[in-house]
């Protein structure tokens, strides 16, 4: 503190760097103001074109607003490791499935590593992991390591695929990071259609080509299910209970048929056509889907087959929506891995959106063989467990082309194109946390934040002037520099300012003057002891320093811990508090000291200057 030229130099440097770092923000603000001020869109466009580089540059370097202020989505997605491990397992039997089910339940409610839960559960059951995973000669430890590696790879791959999907969809500056062993954090600003983004992100995009079983087999299986259910007396009133949430108002729930006329629990909700097609009405879809997932029902279906529903309902003659039901061979003939190119388009008849796909050479050869061998049969195109279409093979397809139809809208076709191009996720991902702020609320937050900043600054600075008179001016100047430093550090490090961040700044303003208060009170004491103004100022700074240091270190420590352990919004608060407190060590001590030195040298400071 004795080295005056150095201190002065430091103050000037900090001020210049802060202003320089905030300059693009100011330019960005004034340029967009100018752009809005034009009367016609034409003028505005001309201006934009003329200043294009400048506008882009300013925008890139300006202080970013957080998702809560701009409006946007913060998503945390979790890779389903249990599904991943199940994919890796051999000869899965009932016991294995039971264990996995248990692990799944535990994992849903804890933040423990899935692999730890899994190995603990196997240990409890006294089964070696090698019975199901990898080689029988592997030790448990080796298998755990391998599975661990597998899940890390899966997470990295999932992140890349999700990044691809988002890039294809077109979002400005998405932030995609991984956290821990199974989570992906996605931050998207300025989303106009969140629903579409959610759908785009969560689909696994597992594409499969599967052969349909003969209609007679389907009917036989349904017969078996129906009579089994009838024996258990499962009343189809169940859909009204479990699915009432989904039924749009106005559609009467499926009336439970009177017991005497009932054709059986399943047949009551199904419609079977002359040609052997089976449909379920839209309102009973949930009931049937849940039914097909039951393990006792699965056991009644032939080992090599599975029952799936169509992705979209068909409208039948009575004007109501029905979902077709299919019985497919479980083993896929071909999977999405062979797809090299996907393109959203319209069908030859014109109106129907569809997606055209091309395959690599291996896929082309296989596809030619499959289609050649199954002429006259039906091949279903299944995406994420839903049947999109099941056309009859007319002839051998030699060029590796295939089409997905049964798509509702152009947007959906476009999204399918995106997910097919990006490839399938290694395992399903789920949204486990979401924070979405709409743009109008964001604007409210900005207004609220600005008001708080303004009033916070005004009240603290006026109070300091009022209480400490001349010395208050120095404290207020330090306060202004403090705020500048906080904002410029945020802008410089490309961090964003959120509402909690603004709260941090407002709070910092109240606490940052503490150093000044400590010094000024000390100077007052020294003056009261009869010291001259020069020695009182010197003694005040010297004696208050140790208090200031100790008190700042403790505040910094708690802010730092908040930053390390907090997530998302809380970090924004911790960051501004951290920068503000650290900066106040400099602004409140060095800056005010130099101001006083200057005033002392000009004889502008007297015993009365400290109020």
């Amino acid at each position: 503190m004795k080295n005056k030229p150095f201190n002065l130099f430091l103050i000037v440097l900090v001020t210049i760097v802060s202003l320089w770092s905030l300059w693009p923000t100011w330019r960005d603000y004034s340029l967009s103001n100018q752009m809005d001020s034009f009367a016609t869109g034409e003028d505005s466009l001309k201006f934009t074109l003329a200043h294009r580089d400048e506008i882009e540059n300013a925008r890139k370097k300006s202080l970013k607003l957080g998702l809560d202020l701009k409006g946007g989505m913060h998503l945390v997605m979790e890779v389903d490791q249990i599904d991943l491990f199940e994919q890796k397992a051999w000869n899965k039997d009932a016991r294995f499935r039971a264990i996995m089910e248990k692990v799944r339940k535990q994992a849903a409610n804890s933040n423990a590593q899935v692999i730890d839960l899994l190995s603990a559960e196997f240990e409890k059951e006294n089964i070696r992991l090698s019975r199901y995973f990898y080689d029988i000669r592997n030790s448990d430890r080796e298998i755990i390591d391998k599975l661990q590696k597998e899940s890390e790879d899966a997470l990295a791959r999932a992140r890349e695929i999700i990044r691809n999907r988002i890039d294809q969809y077109g979002v400005a500056e998405p932030v995609i990071t991984t956290q821990g062993s199974r989570r992906i954090i996605i931050e998207l600003a300025g989303i106009s259609d969140e629903n579409r983004v959610r759908n785009l992100l969560k689909g696994t995009a597992k594409l499969e080509f599967k052969l349909l079983r003969e209609p007679e087999v389907l009917l036989r299986v349904l017969d078996k299910l129906n009579s089994s259910l009838a024996a258990q007396r499962i009343v189809p009133a169940a859909p009204a209970d479990t699915a009432d949430v989904r039924i749009p108002a106005g559609v009467p729930p499926p009336a439970p048929a009177a017991a005497s006329k009932s054709a059986g629990p399943l047949y009551d909700v199904l419609t079977i056509m002359q040609n052997g097609n089976v449909y379920v009405p839209a309102e009973s879809r949930e009931f049937v889907v849940k039914l097909f997932q039951r393990s006792d029902i699965k056991a009644l279906i032939p080992q090599d087959s599975e029952l799936l529903l169509a992705a979209k309902p068909d409208q039948l003659q009575d004007g109501r929506n029905y979902y077709p039901i299919f019985l497919l061979r479980k083993t896929a003939e071909l999977t999405g891995g062979v797809i090299t190119e996907a393109k959203a388009s319209f069908s030859a008849e014109g109106a129907q959106p569809e997606v055209l796909m091309e395959m690599n050479s291996e896929g082309t050869a296989k596809w030619a063989r499959i289609t050649g061998a199954n002429i006259g049969k039906r091949v279903a195109i299944v995406l994420d467990g839903a049947v999109y279409s099941a056309p009859v093979v007319q002839s051998k397809i030699p060029n590796g082309n295939s089409v997905i139809n049964g798509i509702e809208s152009v947007e959906e076709a476009k999204d399918l194109e995106i997910v097919l191009k990006a490839g399938a996720l290694p395992a399903p991902v789920r949204i486990i946390e979401e924070r979405t702020v709409g743009p109008s609320l964001g604007a409210d937050y900005i207004r609220a934040g600005m008001l708080s900043l303004l009033w916070g600054f005004l009240s603290v600075s006026v109070f300091m002037l009022f209480y400490y008179r001349t010395a208050g001016i120095a404290a207020d100047m330090a306060l202004i520099l403090n705020i500048l430093v906080v904002l410029s550090v945020l802008a410089g490090f490309n961090a964003s300012l959120s509402l909690p961040g603004i709260a941090g700044i407002v709070l910092t303003m109240g606490m940052a003057v503490d150093a000044n208060v400590l010094i000024y009170e000390r100077i007052r004491e020294e003056l009261a002891d009869g010291k001259s103004i020069v020695s009182a100022v010197a003694a005040g700074y010297d004696k208050a320093f140790s208090s200031i240091l100790d008190s700042h270190v403790t505040t910094l420590a708690s802010a730092y811990l908040l930053y390390t352990f907090g997530i998302g919004p809380i970090q924004g608060f911790a960051v501004t508090l951290l920068i503000g407190t650290a900066a106040s060590l400099f602004t409140a001590i060095v800056v005010t000291r130099e101001i006083f030195n200057f005033m002392l040298s000009k004889n502008m400071l007297s015993e009365k200057s400290f109020g």
Partner: protein
């Protein structure tokens, strides 16, 4: 201008009264925590919250009825901004469905009163348990760091008393949250991440206040006899009183401004910090230093403080 100029309150002599007040505060807080518990926000219990804003005024009862009719389970409350409601439901991970259900119901029943879903927060149970753990870790970490730092800069008795004061402050605020939880519509006083941030802010503030008093004691206690400690403690507290009040004042002003202007998302936080700073200011005078004094008296030891002022 001067407030508290040259005071000479005898804080140490009246410390027992302060102990009783603190005990009452703490006990009523703990009792309420045991019997009433806390309102956990979705951060810590998992769940979904949707904020819906209407263009025109609408009765909370009729909105509730429409949602019930549509089959949306959960609770609906008035939200702190105009014409807005907060719907809390269980977490499902299917935000699209929830949103469609709510939107369709309102569009059908309030066709001439447009609504907008302005915010959706949805936290799954595994994230909630994560958040709980990291909150606990942050709080304990902060206490340990403070104990360590103050222990090194002063001595263990001072550090321990400071941490006791922090506990006192945080527990009092926590108790108040339990007592007042759910009483106000404009601030639900739910435990969420922002309240943890408030606790850490309060902890940092409380120890700051305490350390300033300690620092003055350290400055004056060097080479003095234990019989003089009472006078030294009292004088130190009186000399720093003015600073204590002024800094609390400026900080309280800014927190009050946050409470008023920064909107409903910050309100619970601002409330917690406001109360915390009040209590923290009180505890640095009436809890931390008196405990050190009593401790020194009980062990009949003299103080060997490390560090010191820069002079």
């Amino acid at each position: 201008m001067r407030i508290f100029h040259k005071t000479s309150f005898n804080f140490i002599r009246h410390r027992k009264i302060a102990y009783v007040i603190s005990m009452v505060l703490l006990l009523s807080g703990i009792l309420s925590l045991v019997f009433r518990g806390l309102n956990y926000g979705i951060d810590f219990r998992g769940g979904s919250e949707v904020v819906i804003r209407f263009d025109k005024n609408v009765e909370v009862g009729s909105v509730r009825a429409v949602l019930k009719e549509a089959g949306v389970s959960g609770t609906l409350k008035q939200y702190g901004i105009d014409r807005s409601f907060l719907l809390s439901t269980v977490f499902s991970g299917q935000t699209n469905e929830l949103k469609a259900l709510v939107s369709n119901a309102f569009n059908a029943r309030f066709p001439d009163n447009r609504h907008e879903i302005v915010r959706i927060d949805s936290v799954g149970p595994s994230i909630a348990s994560d958040l709980k753990w990291s909150a606990l870790k942050a709080l304990l970490g902060a206490l340990a760091a403070i104990l360590l730092y103050v222990g090194i800069r002063f001595e263990l008795k001072f550090a321990a008393a400071g941490v006791v004061a922090i506990f006192h402050d945080v527990l009092t605020v926590l108790g108040l949250f339990s007592i007042l939880g759910g009483l106000f519509t404009f601030m639900p006083l739910e435990m969420d991440q922002s309240i943890i941030a408030a606790f850490l802010t309060v902890a940092g503030y409380s120890i700051t206040d305490t350390v300033v008093v300690y620092d003055r004691i350290r400055e004056r206690i060097r080479g003095r006899k234990p019989s003089e400690y009472e006078a030294i403690f009292n004088e130190s507290m009186n000399q720093t009183l003015s600073r204590t009040i002024i800094t609390s004042g400026t900080t309280l002003i800014t927190v009050l401004i946050l409470f008023i202007f920064a909107g409903p998302a910050i309100r619970g936080f601002a409330f917690a910090v406001f109360i915390g700073i009040l209590i923290g200011t009180y505890s640095s005078i009436f809890v931390a230093s008196p405990i050190v004094y009593d401790w020194l008296k009980a062990t009949k030891s003299s103080v060997r403080l490390r560090g010191g002022s820069a002079s």
